[in-house]
């Protein structure tokens, strides 16, 4: 090992020391919901040379809970979508605590299709407890809106990179989370239901949320081990809110590294790889033998 290598390694180790801390799942849940935790707008400011927000779904409304627009990252044009949660009570209310209505998902889809046509990669920042479970949301088809996004994002011909920066809550998170590369921040969580909901429904006791969190495998480390995500974005050891610049720089590095590879792929191979990955999740050994028909249809279509 050369001197330079040694120096690099010791730097890396001290860095790990400074930037990682083993937390319990419940501590992650709480940290992921911290009101001071950096949101999509913070990261855009830290990552982009320039950014222009674009509004509206062209159908019904502009959902403030869903940010969307075009940014430049080191001179490369990308479309960015992300859940806005707000960083104080007034903002929280203004953006409905990060819970989108159908128009938010339809706006995200409109911008994603625009990105596809003009060959811009898509970056999504996920941070939501879930889609909004209210009257208007149901009346205007929140189920249909999320479903359509899952369908359409799965075959978009441009690279999609998703970062779960805080709470990744259920279908509401997945609605902008179908991607080629999925990362969790170190203290972010991603789950099919909140630990409170899990405790309430399966353990018949909402106060057992901490216990639920322990068995739900919702942390970055768990999800990496289960091969649901592609990597973990480091945070300051006291959380991303203490040093947003550090996480932002890790995110930016990841985006640049991934896009340098993904933008070189042909659209059909990009989509084929994405579809295979989606298909493989949760399939048992026995079921895996059934991936053959998928390959057939992919070859037929792409």
């Amino acid at each position: 090992m050369s001197k330079i290598e040694l120096k690099e390694m010791s730097e890396r180790l001290s860095r790990v020391d400074k930037y990682t801390k083993k937390r319990t799942p419940w501590e992650c849940v709480k940290l992921s919901r911290n009101i001071n935790r950096p949101g999509v707008e913070d990261y855009i400011k830290l990552i982009c040379d320039d950014f222009m927000p674009l509004c509206g779904d062209r159908l019904y409304g502009e959902d403030k809970a869903m940010l969307g627009g075009i940014g430049l990252i080191d001179g490369r044009a990308v479309t960015i979508i992300g859940n806005r949660k707000g960083s104080n009570l007034k903002e929280n209310i203004d953006v409905n605590y990060g819970m989108s209505h159908p128009e938010g998902y339809r706006k995200a889809l409109r911008l994603a299709k625009q990105a596809e046509r003009f060959n811009r990669p898509i970056i999504s920042f996920i941070d939501t407890p879930g889609a909004y479970p209210g009257l208007g949301s149901e009346e205007r088809g929140i189920g249909e809106a999320i479903a359509t996004n899952l369908k359409e994002f799965s075959t978009l011909s441009v690279p999609i990179i998703s970062f779960i920066i805080g709470e990744g809550g259920s279908g509401g998170a997945l609605g902008i989370g179908v991607s080629d590369k999925l990362y969790l921040l170190e203290n972010a969580v991603y789950s099919v239901i909140t630990p409170e909901g899990f405790a309430s429904i399966l353990m018949h006791d909402p106060s057992k949320a901490e216990e639920a969190a322990n068995i739900m495998k919702m942390t970055a480390q768990d999800l990496l081990e289960m091969e649901i995500i592609h990597g973990i974005i480091k945070e300051d050891k006291d959380g991303a809110h203490v040093n947003p610049e550090f996480s932002a720089s890790e995110i930016k590095k990841t985006i640049n590294k991934d896009l340098n590879i993904l933008t070189k792929k042909k659209p059909d191979s990009l989509v084929r790889y994405r579809l295979k990955k989606i298909r493989s999740i949760g399939a048992s050994k026995e079921q895996e033998s059934y991936s053959e028909p998928l390959l057939k249809v992919l070859q037929k279509i792409y």
Binding site: L150, T155, Y190
Partner: protein, 260 residues
């Protein structure tokens, strides 16, 4: 001795045999009772034409949740099904179809990795073999015991619809009571035509969750099939007795002769 069943809507007492002969529909008020998977298959498919696929597959316990395997076994014994969906091929008025029927009586029709995989596989087989796919939905949503794997089935099944959409093979969805949660937010909302049985509850969030959010009672008929039709999400509300002929008409009119 006659077994009597009380209709939950008109409260009339109905002879169980009468109900059964009427496809489990109240002859008085048209209330559609729960229809078991095997009854549904008989009702929709040409006689003895149904051939089940993947009937031997069973769910795993990917998160190693305590008690999940026992629960699966209990529901298996109770329902005589391996999991919450039965899939297979059949003919309907002589036309080849692929059919999926979800079982609400198996763990609330919840979608785990097996349900997602079986439905996905059928859709892809349909796309490859140019055979229309019909899915009868009934589900409370994601299977929480399978955690994130369950959530991912929404993406998986929806991506299968994306593939179907690139062919000329139709997907017909029939919503039955109840269809909520992750199933509504994936393939169930993505049919080329979406039918529903009368009165079926259809939504993403369940009524109790919504009531909890808004802190007031829900309007009469909220999230029911007729409500969803009037709000643009259901093509037609179809009585059980007319379902086979309706599907037959749709199959016939969605047939593309020169499949390009």
């Amino acid at each position: 001795m006659e077994k009597l069943v009380q209709c939950p809507i008109c409260h009339q007492e109905i002879n169980a045999n009468v109900l059964s002969n009427n496809l489990e529909v109240c002859p008085n008020c048209n209330y559609h009772f729960h229809f078991k998977v095997r009854e549904r298959i008989v009702n929709i498919c040409d006689e003895n034409s149904f051939v089940e696929i993947d009937e031997h597959l069973v769910s795993l316990n990917p998160l190693e949740i305590e008690g999940y395997e026992e629960k699966l076994k209990k529901h298996k014994d109770k329902s005589n099904l391996n999991d919450a969906v039965v899939t297979g091929s059949a003919t309907l008025n002589g036309e080849k179809i692929y059919l999926c029927v979800m079982a609400f009586d198996f763990m609330g029709g919840s979608m785990g990795a097996l349900v997602g995989e079986k439905i996905t596989k059928i859709m892809i087989e349909g796309a490859i073999n140019n055979i229309p796919v019909i899915i009868f939905c009934a589900s409370g949503g994601a299977r929480m015991q399978e955690g994130i794997f369950s959530l991912m089935q929404m993406a998986k099944t929806s991506s299968a619809v994306a593939l179907m959409n690139k062919t000329k093979v139709p997907l017909f969805i029939v919503l039955t009571h109840p269809t909520t949660g992750g199933v509504t937010a994936s393939f169930a909302s993505l049919g080329d035509v979406i039918l529903s049985e009368p009165g079926a509850l259809i939504g993403f969030a369940g009524p109790r969750v919504i009531q909890g959010t808004i802190g007031q009672k829900l309007p009469e008929g909220f999230q029911r099939a007729e409500f969803q039709r009037d709000h643009g999400f259901v093509d037609a509300v179809v009585n059980r007795k007319d379902m086979k002929e309706t599907l037959s008409y749709l199959i016939k009119t969605h047939k593309v002769k020169n499949n390009e």
